[in-house]
C-alpha cells in the first residue's frame, strides 16, 4: 500500500508515469469517469482549505467515486480530543482512501503509520504540501514540455513558504535546473535548502529585486509576501513593490516565461497580468485536479 506524504515519496520514473496518466485523463476524461465507482474518499480537513479540499473532492467525483468527511476540526471528533492515529484507524473502516490536512507538522506521517488505506497528505502545517508540488510539476511539464534544463525563479516569501521548499526539493532531482531566489533578505531561502543544493552542485543565485533578473527566467513562481513577516513596517513599505508582479515587470520577461502561483493571490500579482497569456496560475489550478485524479487512481491501484 502506498501513501503520498512528501513529494519525494515517488521516484522520478513514478512521477513520469503519474504525469502521463494525468495528461491522458485530461485528454480522455470520459474514459476514467467510472474508474472509482463504488469507492469512497474520506477528506479529513482539520483546518480550512478551499482549493485543496475542493480539488481533491472534484478529482474523486470526476473518477466516479464519492466523498465524505469534515472541513474543520470543530465538527470532527478531534474536538473531543481524539488522536490522529485513532481517527485514521476508524476512517480506515469506512473509506477506501483518505486525504488529510492538519495544522500539526507530521500529522500525515502519523496517519499513514496507523492507516489501513492509502493516505494523501493535503498539507501538514508549514511542513509539506505534496499535492501542490505535483500540481506545480505537472503544470511546468505541460507549459514547457520538460522538467529539465530550466531556469526557475522563485519570488517572495522563500523563508516560510512550504510550497517553494517542496518544489525546490522536487525539481532538484531533474537535470540542468538553475534556481533564482528573489526575496527580501529577511525572507531568503533557509540555509538547509541552500546547503542541500550546494551538496548536490545545483546552481542557484539570490536577488533582492525581481526586475534585475526576470529577463533570464523560463518560469517565475510567485508567492505572497505577508506584512507580518517583516520586522518593521518601514522595511515592508520599502520592499513590497519589488515583489509585486505587474505589466511593467512582465515587459522585461521572455515571451515564453510562464508565471505560476500556488494561490490564494492577494496583491503580489496585479490583476492586469491575468490577461497576459504567460499568466498560468489559473491553468495550474486545473492541472491540480488532473494530477490528483491520477494520484487517487494510482494509490488505489486501479491503473
Amino acid at each position: 500500500m502506498r501513501h503520498l506524504i512528501t513529494p519525494l515519496d515517488f521516484s522520478v520514473g513514478e512521477l513520469d508515469r503519474l504525469f502521463d496518466l494525468a495528461d491522458d485523463m485530461r485528454e480522455h476524461q470520459e474514459r476514467y469517469a467510472h474508474l472509482c465507482d463504488g469507492k469512497k474518499l474520506a477528506s479529513l480537513f482539520y483546518e480550512p482549505s478551499t482549493r485543496t479540499r475542493l480539488s481533491i473532492e472534484t478529482a474523486m467525483l470526476n473518477l466516479g467515486g464519492r466523498t465524505m468527511g469534515f472541513s474543520d476540526a470543530g465538527s470532527s471528533s478531534a474536538a473531543k480530543g481524539e488522536s490522529v492515529a485513532d481517527t485514521i484507524r476508524t476512517v480506515s473502516c469506512f473509506a477506501d482512501i483518505a486525504a488529510i490536512r492538519h495544522p500539526k507538522e507530521g500529522a500525515a506521517t502519523v496517519a499513514a503509520q496507523f492507516s489501513r488505506i492509502p493516505v494523501i497528505n493535503a498539507g501538514d502545517g508549514g511542513h509539506q504540501h505534496p499535492t501542490q508540488t505535483l500540481t506545480d510539476l505537472l503544470t511546468i511539464r505541460n507549459l514547457k514540455n520538460r522538467l529539465s534544463s530550466l531556469t526557475i525563479g522563485l519570488c517572495g516569501d522563500l523563508k516560510f513558504g512550504r510550497t517553494v521548499h517542496s518544489l525546490v526539493n522536487a525539481l532538484a532531482r531533474y537535470q540542468d535546473i538553475r534556481f533564482v531566489f528573489i526575496s527580501p533578505p529577511e525572507l531568503r531561502m533557509p540555509d538547509y535548502i541552500t546547503e542541500f543544493l550546494d551538496d548536490r552542485g545545483i546552481h542557484y543565485e539570490e536577488y533582492i529585486r525581481l526586475e534585475e533578473v526576470i529577463g533570464k527566467l523560463d518560469l517565475l513562481y510567485m508567492t505572497r509576501v505577508q506584512r507580518e513577516r517583516f520586522f518593521n513596517e518601514e522595511d515592508y513599505v520599502r520592499l513590497r513593490n519589488f515583489y509585486i508582479l505587474d505589466a511593467e515587470k512582465m515587459s522585461l520577461a521572455k515571451n515564453d516565461m510562464f508565471v505560476l502561483h500556488p494561490l490564494p493571490r492577494v496583491n503580489e500579482i496585479s490583476v492586469e497580468v491575468d490577461n497576459d497569456p504567460r499568466a498560468a496560475y489559473f491553468r495550474q489550478v486545473q492541472f491540480g485536479v488532473y494530477v490528483r485524479m491520477a494520484l487517487i487512481a494510482t494509490l488505489l491501484e486501479l491503473v
Binding site: 488522536s83 490522529v84 492515529a85 492538519h102 495544522p103 500539526k104 507538522e105 507530521g106 500529522a107 506521517t109 502519523v110 501538514d124 502545517g125 508549514g126 511542513h127 533557509p190 540555509d191 538547509y192 546547503e195
Partner: protein, 146 residues
Amino acid sequence: MLNVGKIEEGFVLDHIKAGKSLELYHHLGLDKLDCTVAIIKNARSNAMGKKDILKVECNINTLNLDVLAFVDPDITINVIKNGEIIEKKSLPLPKEVKGIIRCTNPRCISTIEQELPQIFYLADDHRAIYRCRYCDAAYNPNGITG
C-alpha cells in the same frame, strides 16, 4: 585513587564527559539488564581534567552501543574478553535514534499525539544533523533549528 576490579568480559567506556555517565547508563538500557556495572564519576583525566567511566560486565553481544556515537562521539569504547582489551571500537553515527531525544518543535504532531515514539533520523552524515521523523525539524542540543 579508587580501584575497581578488572572485568572478564564486557565493555569499558572511557572518556565520557564528566557527569554524563548516568545518562548513558539509561540510554544503553543498563537499568534493565542483570549485569555488574561500575559507574565512575569525575575521575581525574590528563586530557579532560575530569571524566566519567562506565565498566559493564556482560556478554559482548548483548549490548547495543549504537546510541553512543550520537550521545558523545568522543567516548572510547574498549571491548574486553578474557580480561584483555580485544578491540577499541569507533562507532558510526546511528541512522536512527529512538526514545533518546524529544522534538521541541511546538508545531510537531509528536507534541500532542499520545504514545508516539520519538524518532530522529540521520539526515546529514557530514554535519551530524538529525531530523524529527514527523516534522523534519533539525535537532541540536540547544533546541530545534531549521
